[in-house]
């Protein structure tokens, strides 16, 4: 999402994947945003997004969720899908980033 960066907003993706897996994914897909690894689900639980046993082999994973946090650390937008096939679209991210002062 290079447009997001041009709007002065950082994009960070968080999952239980290891840093190595995330790096491979970045390379493969040519992502421009940063990946953080949360194997112990500490951040995932802090945001109440834990999906118990939903990963392969019954691993706990994050349910999809997107947040926009402003420079003061306040949540400005939150998107919690009720269907994991339906995710926030790139246009939504761009529209939200544009609204941020």
């Amino acid at each position: 999402m290079p447009e997001i960066q041009q709007l002065g907003v950082r994009a960070v993706a968080i999952s239980v994947d290891s840093p190595e897996q995330s790096r491979d994914l970045c390379k493969k897909a040519g992502f421009t945003f940063e990946f953080l690894s949360d194997p112990n689900t500490t951040a995932i639980r802090a945001y109440d997004l834990l999906h118990v046993g939903a990963g392969a082999e019954g691993h706990d994973v994050a349910r999809p969720g997107e947040f926009l946090v402003d420079s003061n650390g306040i949540v400005r937008w939150a998107n919690l899908t009720e269907d994991f096939r339906v995710r926030a679209r790139a246009e939504q991210f761009i529209a939200q980033a544009k609204q941020l002062k």
């Binding site: 993706a13 994947d17 953080l36 945001y47 990963g55 997107e66 306040i74 096939r85 980033a97 941020l100």
Partner: protein
């Protein structure tokens, strides 16, 4: 008794029902417009069921002209199973997500965290908000946090 014709409507219906399910995963899942509401797949499945009904009517209503009294019910049940599986996934299975009632809401402080990035370096929410973006000298205006399932 004359030669009975092949009942191709039954087979076309069955194949369309299979295609209508399989194409979602291999093709139409890729684009949000055909993924969020799988309308292309529903159209294919509707066409498949239409052909099946037509084939069954031929097999049982015009059985002097058409084959399919045995194949028809078998293909019909397999097709219904495929359509049922697809509907179960779309209308039920992928909606089984935790409520996440405790997730931070608009106007609330985003919870702090410390995690490792792809270079094994520890970063926190505060450091992500303070560090300038690449090709920039000022901190970002904000931060998108995108939680995803990952490939575990």
């Amino acid at each position: 008794m004359g030669q009975r014709r092949r009942n191709w409507h039954l087979w076309a219906g069955f194949l369309l029902c299979l295609l209508g399910v399989v194409s979602y995963f291999f093709l139409f899942y890729r684009w949000p417009v055909t993924r969020d509401v799988p309308w292309v797949n529903f159209l294919i499945l509707a066409a498949g069921l239409g052909f099946l009904i037509s084939g069954l009517r031929r097999a049982f209503g015009q059985s002097q002209d058409f084959k399919g009294k045995i194949a028809g019910p078998i293909l019909g049940i397999l097709s219904l199973a495929a359509v049922g599986f697809f509907c179960f996934l779309i209308f039920y299975a992928t909606k089984q997500l935790p409520k996440s009632a405790g997730a931070p809401k608009v106007g609330q402080k985003a919870p702090e965290f410390v995690l490792k990035d792809e270079n094994n370096k520890e970063v926190s929410l505060a450091s992500l908000l303070a560090a300038p973006l690449p090709n920039s000298s000022t901190p970002p205006k904000g931060l998108f946090l995108i939680f995803y399932r990952g490939y575990w």
